[in-house]
Amino acid sequence: MKQKQNAVVLSQKEIATDIYDMWIGTSLAADAKPGQFLCVYPKDKSTLLPRPISICEADAEKGAVRIVYRIAGAGTREFSGYQAGDSISILGTLGNGFPVEEGRGKRVFLIGGGIGIPPLLELAKHLKGETQVILGYRNSALFLQEDLEKHGVIYVATEDGSVGSKGNVMDAIRDNGLEADVIFACGPMPMLRAVKAYAAEHRIKAYISLEERMACGVGACLGCVARTKETDHHSHVHNARICTDGPVFEADVVEI
């Protein structure tokens, strides 16, 4: 059940330049599914809207959720200043999440670009199969790859070529001659477009997680829509709600 609550920060540290890693103590951990997200609300009264941040890990027993986010503006800058014991206002758990069953026992690509990497960790923990994790970074300031190593084989691409393949995740796939039966991906739009094209070419399914500016986070305001090929059940026009019908979509269902 969705709920807005004042949770507590358990810990926070900066794991790469402007990338923060926070554990939050919250009862919402029990419902958290891979690929879902939280809305986090700044305390600053000049910034009222929630910041949607994907769930990186969830520990139902400990009642804790992990988020890894980049400072992108005033709101995330405020969050980055929170310390253990501080309160944090969150709404969750939101979104459909990744269809884990589609990956069970298959050869899987988990493709993440930059700040799109975090949601792959919880997903990787749930997949039991041949998990290949392809990660794209700007430079050698890697993050989360050590966590992901425990759940799959890691292939890295960096824009500056300082680590792994020089270029993007697609270059890493080609350089390493990787193959898969299904893809789960999260990252910048150009990467997602490349993933969609790759999946179409290889006739495999790809599930991609989309981002958009949100206001309500619960599907009421229609602020965060994605153009769909078919009219969807809710809008009856070609607009699915990323916050509710997504953020994860089958690549060939959305026009990106």
Partner: protein, 301 residues
């Protein structure tokens, strides 16, 4: 303590409703609040045919509020009648349907369809959406045009008609008088104020639509002023809205002359806002021994 208000003959258990477009048809927020507690649910604008709305980005944050340029995306009256009305009928709150259109005929078509549905207590006519290029807003920024569409709608309406006015005008009193003269039963204001946000790093408009409607606590003082001016200009009841976040905010609108209030953007910030406002009004009435909430309407000196 009596929180009941009567709006154009429609009895509301309390003066708190939802601002059109911020609450869908209640479905999404029914996970957070008991819709039975609301005075009324004002639905998202519905048109005669499905509207796709504007491209994204559709929303942007501004200091103490937000801009939106959804463009009145809606599934059209058919789906609305089949899905949304039956859902809302389950609850013991009044149903007020917001109607949008591009031509007078568009509006009238929806008005007539809703006339078949007795569960709908009132019609709110949106002639003030700043985010659709066509007719809509023109109706809301010209007194004669407003008079014209209001009287047309009234001719075909089976339910009481509430005209939702635009704040983007020189004289809100003149607009209110035009709507009243054309026979409308109530007025709601204000709709959003046209605003703009520019990303100085990309040197681009943040919204795909360039401009958007501004809402939130930042614009409350403008809304309170317009409610006060409109209330002094007409005799018909006024539903006030604009940045209401607390019961105290709602009381301010009632004192300014509003007969009821709507909660808009703050639903996004706190999904429990409607209930907190209802309880806040009750707290105020208890604290100051106000017997009937109607005693507060226009009671500022």
């Amino acid at each position: 303590m009596n929180t009941q208000v009567t709006l154009a003959g429609v009895k509301l258990k309390n003066p708190v409703m939802t601002a059109s477009g911020t609450f869908g048809s209640g479905m999404e927020y029914s996970e957070f609040v008991d819709l039975n507690r609301l005075g009324a649910v004002v639905t998202k604008g519905v048109s005669n045919v499905p509207w796709p709305g504007n491209p994204t980005p559709r929303v942007a944050e501004v200091y103490g509020g937000m801009l939106n340029a959804i463009g009145l995306q809606n599934p059209g009256i058919d789906v609305f009648m089949e899905r949304d009305i039956p859902f809302l009928k389950q609850y013991d709150s009044k149903i007020i349907v917001n109607i949008c259109g591009k031509t007078v005929e568009d509006y009238v078509e929806v008005v007539e369809r809703l006339g078949e549905e007795p569960a709908v207590s009132m019609l709110e006519i949106n002639v003030s959406c700043p985010n659709v290029k066509e007719g809509a807003i023109a109706f809301g920024q010209n007194a004669e045009a407003l008079y014209g569409i209001t009287s047309e709608v009234k001719k075909h309406a089976k339910q009481p008609v509430m005209m939702k006015l635009s704040p983007n005008v020189t004289d809100i009193g003149e607009m209110a008088r035009a709507a009243e003269a054309a026979g409308c039963d109530a007025i709601s204001l204000m709709n959003t104020i046209t605003g703009m946000k520019i990303d100085i790093h990309k040197r681009r408009f943040v919204l795909a639509n360039k401009t958007g409607g501004m809402s939130g606590p930042a614009i409350k003082p403008i809304a309170v002023r317009m409610v006060y001016q409109a209330a002094r200009a007409v005799k018909i009841p006024i539903v006030g809205m604009g940045g209401i976040a607390t019961g105290e905010d709602a009381i301010e609108f009632l004192l300014a002359g509003a007969a009821a209030v709507s909660i808009g953007a703050m639903n996004f910030v706190n999904p429990y806002t409607t209930i907190e406002v209802i309880e806040g009004i009750e707290d105020y009435m208890r604290k100051y021994h106000v017997e009937n909430v109607t005693d507060l309407i226009g009671a500022v000196e």
